[in-house]
Amino acid sequence: MTVHYTEEHEWIRVEGDTATVGITDFAQGQLGDIVFVELPGNGQQVTKGGEAAVVESVKAASDVYAPVTGEVTEANGALTDDPSLVNTDPEGEGWFFRLRLSDTSELDGLMDADSYKSFCENQ
């Protein structure tokens, strides 16, 4: 199991050819109180770098991009009832969706935890 990070502050935890996607603790801190999350539907195809979800804070709406190309297999329904899970447990219970990867080589360009940490420090 490996966790990768994007420059748009998504995390992706990979197990075999499936992966779980969410936004990072840094991202939720920047967004502030999350009041709504719009999730992709099961079976939806998402493209690396393409819009996959929308997260709304009190102040603004932000797009969440797919870190890799694939097919959505599950969305986190718990966020519909309690979007603040993204604030309280962004890299755990506040996950957004799961997908089946089309091309695992797309993971190569993403950051690991250490590189992401230094990336955030320079934000």
Binding site: V35, F36, E56, V58, K59, P83
Partner: protein, 371 residues
């Protein structure tokens, strides 16, 4: 204006030391939030929030025969404005559009005016151009402005400035606050009871420290100021009001005093009086949006065929109602409470209902009202 050019207000370092996230706003670096918008919002509704609004323009208008000089500009009946009383008023252009909204206070032989931060330079130009030459206009650039808002604001402030509890909504007076001179009015922009406190810039840090030492008080950022005023149904200049919108369209007809409605003689009176008579073509209304997703400024109001017939000018998530709310301009035919309205945002349609404003009841302490 870029980040780098953002000017610093007297409490800049004070905010940073208390963990504020600073953003450029109205040309200044200002605190958007401290612990979080929802927590700050709820704290203000339950206890007392301290806001720095020093970006706003504080003006003094001095000279002879000021009532007639100001009535030529504002649609207020100043003959009814007693000493130490505030009135909400509007700076209008000749076609009846709103140049700014403001508070004007009669203070003994002069008037004190508070205008919006983002528009103050333009306001000053308009006022200078329109006021008689013998009327003095001073921009009080060395005064800071704080607001203490919430049900416990009176308890906290009365400890420091005895006598403020005697003020009622929309009145003000000079006080000593911790030995420093302060002009304090019972007014604000949250819908709660509360006060606005004008002090010398050099005293701002000491006053803010004294207020924050009170157990009821926490510092509140601009983010919660916006969500609070939205719940209170109060329009924000540059968003819900602009030079193309008249007071009647904006549902601010109360700002045009009875005598002025009868007599006219203020900027834009022809159009405004005609709209009062015939009704405006569009009106600012409050909307309760179905579902949980906020519909924000810039979203369209659409008809059955998807044509744009209005626009959302403020929108967000109400922390108190735990639901999305908005202000929008809609055609007069759709402006009645209970009317259904369709909104379009980023290709998605939303259903909404016109509801009365404020969304959350005002808690003003009015003269003569039982506590």
């Amino acid at each position: 204006m870029t980040d780098a050019a953002a000017a610093l207000l007297p409490l800049n370092d004070w905010h940073i030391a208390r963990g504020a996230r600073m953003v450029p706003f109205a040309g200044y670096s200002m605190p958007i939030q401290y612990e979080g918008i929802i927590a700050e919002h709820k704290w203000t509704r339950e206890s007392a929030g301290l806001f720095d609004v020093s970006h706003m323009g504080q003006l003094l208008i001095t000279g002879e025969d000021l009532d007639s000089a100001l009535e030529a500009i504002l649609p207020a009946d100043l003959s009814l404005l007693k000493d130490g009383r505030l009135r909400y008023s509007l700076l209008l252009n000749d076609s009846g559009g709103i140049v700014d909204d403001l508070m004007v206070t009669r203070r003994d032989d002069h008037f004190y005016m508070v205008v919006n931060g983002a528009t103050k330079q333009g306001d000053i130009e308009v006022l200078r151009a329109r006021l008689r030459d013998d009327v003095g206009l001073d921009h009080l650039t060395s005064q800071a402005l704080l607001a203490l808002q919430g049900p416990k604001a009176v308890d906290a402030l009365a400890r420091l400035a005895p006598g403020v509890a005697e003020l009622t909504f929309m009145t003000g007076d000079a006080f000593e606050l911790g030995g420093m001179a302060a002009w304090i009015s019972r007014s604000g922009y949250t819908g709660e009871d509360g006060f606005e406190i004008s002090v010398a810039s050099e005293d701002a840090v000491a006053v803010a420290d004294l207020l924050l030492e009170q157990p009821e008080v926490k510092p509140i950022g601009l983010g919660a100021r916006d969500s609070l005023r939205l719940e209170a149904g109060l329009p924000l200049y540059g968003h819900d009001l602009d030079e193309e919108i008249t007071p009647i369209e904006a549902d601010l007809g109360f700002a045009i005093s009875k005598r002025r409605k009868a007599e006219g003689g203020f900027a834009g009176a022809t159009r405004i009086l005609a709209e009062l008579e015939q009704g405006p073509v569009r009106r600012r209304v409050g909307l309760a949006v179905e579902g949980r997703q906020p519909v924000r400024e810039g979203a369209m109001v659409v008809d059955g065929e998807g044509n744009e017939v209005g626009k959302v000018t403020s929108g967000g998530f109400s922390p108190i109602l735990e639901a999305p709310i908005a202000m929008a301009y809609v055609p007069a035919a759709n402006a009645e409470v209970g009317s259904s309205v369709t909104l379009a945002q980023r290709g998605k349609l939303f259903q909404a209902k016109v509801v009365p404003m404020p969304f959350v009841p005002h808690q003003y302490v009015r003269k003569g009202a039982a506590k």
